[in-house]
């Protein structure tokens, strides 16, 4: 009856989203008076999960690299073994890829983009975003087994005292007809999905050669870099950096927009960020209406100064 949570890791290290879904699963388990079981793949040390409220870990070591079908089927078997009624997954690309397959496998109702602990557990109702962050929707899941997809950075990390007991689990593996040919991924950079802070540049930066200061600002803040749609359309930055309605969604703690006017499609994709700072030379830019803090000024003067001020701040607060 425990709450099952899929905690993703990469090269042995749990993703921030994994610790967040573990925290969330603990809150659901407390509401329901039960425990939390995490499913991990190929982790040698799962003790960190205990800190976020996980009681038990089923570690699957017989499945190799990520494959949505194989992983979904393995998680299904873990859910059946634990007789789990609630399964929590994150909003990473891989979790969103496998969760619909898992839902069919378990005949489970699935609610995505959930932003808080369940409104009630009987009936099981959750609050989720809809209309690309322009509204919230209270959704009831009416199946015996329920899957909750938690929005990134919506619940936060909540520490608990606990020791996760690790058990090896070897499900039978589904066969997959998908073979990875190549992966193109910047490993030295913070990904937008995992970032607490995102620094984003728009057409106001005039050209790709001016991105040095955006990257420097991001580096000072430990942030991910992103861009607006026109910038990705013009090929100044890779498509993987495009945030907005048709790009990646952003739900960071801090979103800094430089030279982005704030088209409605852009705002829809970044509105879930908690604090938004806008730097733009045009005081009429619509983004100022959606921002928490704004600086009206030339990005080429403001950003280098801001980098210096942040370096001073970091030096004082190190």
């Amino acid at each position: 009856m425990s709450v099952l949570v899929y905690t993703e890791s990469e090269q042995g290290k749990f993703k921030k989203a994994a610790l967040e879904v573990a925290s969330y699963a603990k809150a659901v388990a407390t509401q329901m008076g039960t425990t939390v079981t995490a499913v991990t793949f190929n982790t040698s040390d799962a003790s960190e999960l205990g800190k976020y409220g996980v009681d038990k870990v089923l570690n699957i070591a017989n499945a190799e690299n990520f494959d949505a079908k194989v992983y979904a089927d393995a998680i299904k078997q873990a859910a059946e073994k634990e007789a789990a009624k609630v399964i929590v997954v994150s909003s990473t690309a891989d979790s969103k890829y496998l969760a619909p397959l898992l839902a069919v496998g378990l005949n489970a109702g699935y609610a995505t983009n959930v932003v808080e602990a369940p409104v009630s557990t009987s009936p099981f109702a959750v609050k989720r975003t809809a209309f690309t962050n322009k509204a919230f929707n209270i959704t009831e899941i009416n199946t015996d087994v329920k899957i909750v997809g938690l929005s990134s950075n919506a619940f936060g990390l909540v520490e608990n005292s606990g020791a996760a007991a690790v058990e090896e689990f070897s499900p039978s593996l589904a066969t997959s007809n998908i073979a990875v040919q190549s992966v193109d991924k910047a490993t030295d950079k913070v990904s937008i999905a995992d970032a607490d802070i995102v620094v984003s540049g728009g057409r106001g930066l005039k050209g790709p050669e001016n991105w040095g200061m955006i990257e420097e600002l991001a580096e000072v803040l430990g942030a991910a870099t992103a861009c607006s749609k026109p910038v990705s359309d013009l090929g100044w930055r890779p498509h993987s950096e495009h945030v907005g309605q048709t790009g990646k969604p952003v739900a960071s703690n801090l979103y800094i927009a430089v030279g982005i006017s704030g088209a409605i499609q852009h705002l829809a994709g970044v509105n879930a960020s908690k604090v938004k700072v806008v730097i733009n030379s045009d005081p009429e830019a619509p983004f100022f209406k959606a921002a928490d803090y704004g600086v009206v000024g030339d990005a080429f003067e403001v950003v280098p100064q801001l980098i210096e001020k942040l370096k001073e701040f970091k030096a004082q607060n190190a």
């Binding site: 979904a72 619909p100 839902a103 699935y110 209309f131 209270i138 998908i178 604090v275 803090y293 000024g297």
Partner: protein
């Protein structure tokens, strides 16, 4: 190659989002509906397969008669025939079950569905449809090439991209990148005229219950006014972010 493109009928991005009936229903009054942007990228890619590789392209929507103008628009862009499953789209799982029948009856080799609709943002229909029809599935698809029964598909992953090889039948969750924004087509007059004569078949729904139910909508609390900081006083911005917003 037989291609099916799933078309969601959604409010235009610039629409004001309001609710009626005690905040339980979306208020469609005065709202302009469009092809879901993520589906439009897929439709345009399907047109490429039609023109370069001789594929046939059908489009499908699960919804009431009010969605037909959106299907006609897809026909005007170049799809050959349209299918409307005559039932309200209640939740993603129910829509996937309806589409399963269409996919099985039509014997499609490739199904392209947007990674998510911009209204309910469920993001589950392509994956569920793949699981229900036992097809290969790649989500967040930003590149798709097909040669015979073999497909090379690129998907967006967190922080990069991954290219995989697989075979037909295949279902992909499409998005921008399948084609670029500049490649999207606006129906021309000839397309619009031809679309009127193309078949739009209405089929009866299968018996499928929704597994989730929308209970109520809420609008986000109105945002306070922006705090402006002078461009020559960035110490204040750093201080606000640290002391007030507590984000650095």
């Amino acid at each position: 190659m037989k291609i099916l493109v799933c078309i969601s009928h959604v409010p235009d991005t610039t629409s004001k989002i309001n609710f009626t009936e005690d905040d339980t229903k979306f208020d469609a009054n005065g709202v302009q509906f469009v092809i879901n942007p993520n589906d439009e990228f897929g439709l345009t890619r399907a047109m490429w397969f039609k023109e370069k590789q001789g594929a046939s392209v059908d489009v499908v929507n699960v919804g009431g008669a009010e969605t037909e103008p959106t299907l006609r628009k897809a026909l005007a862009i170049g799809a050959d025939t349209a299918i409307r499953v005559n039932t309200a789209a209640t939740d993603g799982f129910a829509v996937a079950k309806q589409l399963t029948k269409v996919v099985q009856d039509g014997g499609y080799d490739l199904v392209i569905a947007g990674r998510e609709s911009i209204d309910y943002n469920g993001g589950m229909v392509p994956g569920m449809l793949a699981a229900l029809t036992d097809a290969n599935f790649v989500n967040n698809c930003i590149g798709l090439d097909i040669e015979g029964a073999n497909a090379t598909v690129t998907r967006e992953i967190d922080g990069g991209k991954e290219t995989v090889s697989t075979t037909l039948p295949l279902i992909v969750g499409g998005q921008k990148g399948l084609v670029e924004e500049s490649d999207l087509r606006i129906p021309n007059m000839r397309g619009i005229m031809m679309a009127r004569k193309k078949p739009l078949t209405v089929v009866d729904p299968v018996d499928a219950t929704a597994e989730t139910a929308s209970v109520k909508f809420e609008k986000p609390a109105p945002k306070g006014a922006v705090k402006l900081v002078a461009a020559d006083n960035l110490d204040e911005l750093v201080s606000l972010l640290h002391n007030e917003a507590k984000v650095i």
